[in-house]
């Protein structure tokens, strides 16, 4: 099945508009699965261009405390893979923004990977990104996603050798996620040194859009990275807002206004 092309079109449209795409991460099910659709749509109104919908996992080794706690709350509220797919379907019913599933492998393997691809595509999901899947282990996974027309996003890291960057570029479709620093997810005061060089190196290896993430939490970071990359990924900073206003009636409004602050759109 061909790709939905939503991801490619989204990056193209942002490029035409002369701004980086804002890729917004949201842990599905935090504070409750019934609220995720409303939160995603609020982020879209605030200027999010792509949605990374996080599948909560009990042992998120690549995440810092903010997303660890978000995952814990989501699991506590009864979020399952099946429920995440329902959430995606409801978002898709109201929005044409690209949706990427962001997950650790185990919950998806348990769901049945081929079944996951079928159901994700039917729900309107456009691609997947796995935190703990190296390209070396990805052949079967990528084949299944291609069969179902899902884009396959892989991560490039500051430690990746040239040989590995080539592999990551080769295995990716839609875009490449550039990890800005060694470490786990979490907000940082500044953008890591070296990420501009990493983006330049990748540009010589692929024509795919490049989105930079890990540690990005402020408008000034978005502006700085927007100067050389095609997209900016923000995660923990959003989940910090969800944590802070989790039970407040104006959670969605808070998330929308923070998204607007980051996107700089009115």
């Amino acid at each position: 099945m061909p790709s939905s092309e939503r991801i490619a079109r989204c990056f193209e449209a942002c490029k035409q508009a002369g701004r980086p795409a804002l890729v917004a991460y949201l842990t599905a099910g935090d504070p409750h699965p019934d609220r995720t659709v409303e939160l995603a749509l609020a982020m879209e109104r605030g200027g999010a261009d792509l949605l990374e919908l996080g599948v909560p996992f009990s042992d998120p080794i690549a995440d810092g405390p903010v997303i660890q706690h978000a995952s814990d709350r989501a699991l506590h509220a009864g979020t399952t893979v099946a429920r995440v797919l329902e959430i995606a379907r409801e978002i898709r019913a109201h929005s044409s923004m690209p949706i990427i599933l962001f997950s650790y492998m185990n919950p998806l393997l348990r769901y049945g990977f081929d079944r996951l691809c079928t159901d994700a595509r039917a729900a309107g999901v456009d691609g997947c990104l796995f935190t703990d899947l190296s390209v070396e282990e990805a052949d079967a996974t990528v084949a299944a996603m291609k069969k179902h027309g899902l884009d396959t996003v892989f991560l490039a890291a500051p430690t990746s050798t040239e040989r590995r960057l080539k592999l990551v570029a080769e295995y990716s479709t839609g875009f490449v996620y550039v990890v800005s620093r060694t470490g786990v997810t979490g907000e940082q005061a500044t953008v890591a040194g070296g990420v501009h060089e990493l983006v330049d190196q990748l540009k010589s290896l692929t024509s795919l859009p490049l989105a930079v993430g890990f540690g990005i939490s402020r408008r000034e970071h978005v502006e700085a990275i927007g100067g050389y990359a095609d997209g900016v990924v923000v995660g923990s900073a959003f989940m910090r807002v969800v944590e802070k206003y989790g039970s407040a009636p104006d959670l969605a409004a808070q998330l929308e206004s923070f998204t607007r602050e980051l996107s700089g759109r009115s």
Binding site: D59, A62, L109, E136, L155, V179, T182
Partner: protein, 404 residues
Amino acid sequence: MSTTIKTPDAGGHFGPYGGRYVPETLMAPLEELERAFHEAQQDESFRAELKDLLANFAGRPTPLYEAKRLSQTLGGARIFIKREDLLHTGAHKINNCLGQILLARRMGKKRIIAETGAGQHGVATATVCALFGLECVVYMGEEDMRRQRLNVFRMRMLGAKVVSVTSGSRTLKDAVSEAMRDWVTNVSSTHYLLGSALGSHPYPMLVRDFHRCTGDEARAQILERIGRLPDTIFACVGGGSNAIGIFTAFIGDAGVKLVGVEAGGRSGKLGEHAARFSGGSPGVLQGAYSYLLQDEDGQVSLTHSVSAGLDYALVGPEHAWLHDQGRAEYVSATDSSALNAAKTLARTEGIIPALESSHAIAEALRRAPAAKDEVFLINLSGRGDKDTDIYRENFPELDQDNAE
């Protein structure tokens, strides 16, 4: 056995198990470690230095001891015990730590991190760091710090920093997650000295190879002593390092039964044990694909064992392969049978075993009476000093002033 491969493939797979399921940031460092390991193995001076440390610092070879009173009491199998408990620091863990610290030095790493459950791996890591003058940080679940208090103090005495982990079940699994997060953050300066045959390639292979001295020695010792191989070998299985260490030398001997003993805990209910083969199914945790205790939605289950070193949701990938091939058999022993086995060994042989090792002993005790004319070999992976508090809690009658 032609179906059994002894080394993983180039990607670190034992059949479908093992592999590299980690964030991209860790991939190049894992490749670097694998390269350093292969180069070191070819390097005569590395091998000589490791051999010298194993002999003169750790105390190898360890004795193969015939447990005559225990055998007599049970009236069946003739039981031999491989005394890894007599190694410096009190458990097999030092074999792997000496190997990895030499690798870390070769790679120019200045800082060592480790996870620990029972604290034996933490103590062994702190020991080799003291020996080589390297900074040492050990992650340990809060629950394990409570139940293995003595080892926490030993690590600190040796100069290590012990970080209490308060996420999840506050046991070994959570300590591994925290160690991985530290490693991914400080990867250029830091070597992760993983303590079991777990995690991403090359760890399961490398940890096995640093422990295979146990089985190599035991095989030569028993041939010399009785002129034949044992019928059955017993070892406890947490991540699986002491078990793979003794099994490896015998995998090619089709007549030798290999029995791995997991923690049966309080009951067979999910959450109350750590018997991955009977209660789990294949999945990915902390870098590897293997048998995993998980719920129907793929979330990792909590585990329980009286023994902190066996209290972990995933089994090392090579064991998963040996299991599927039918080359090794995996069973479990409950908390109470392990406690009783410890008391039996103490009173018949004058050896107080670690609670982990007591699981292997328990299974051997169970089978011995019906195994006349057979030879059993038990890997006694550690000594019981660290478990004194737990033994006291469970044998309150021995803690009275007029106790017998």
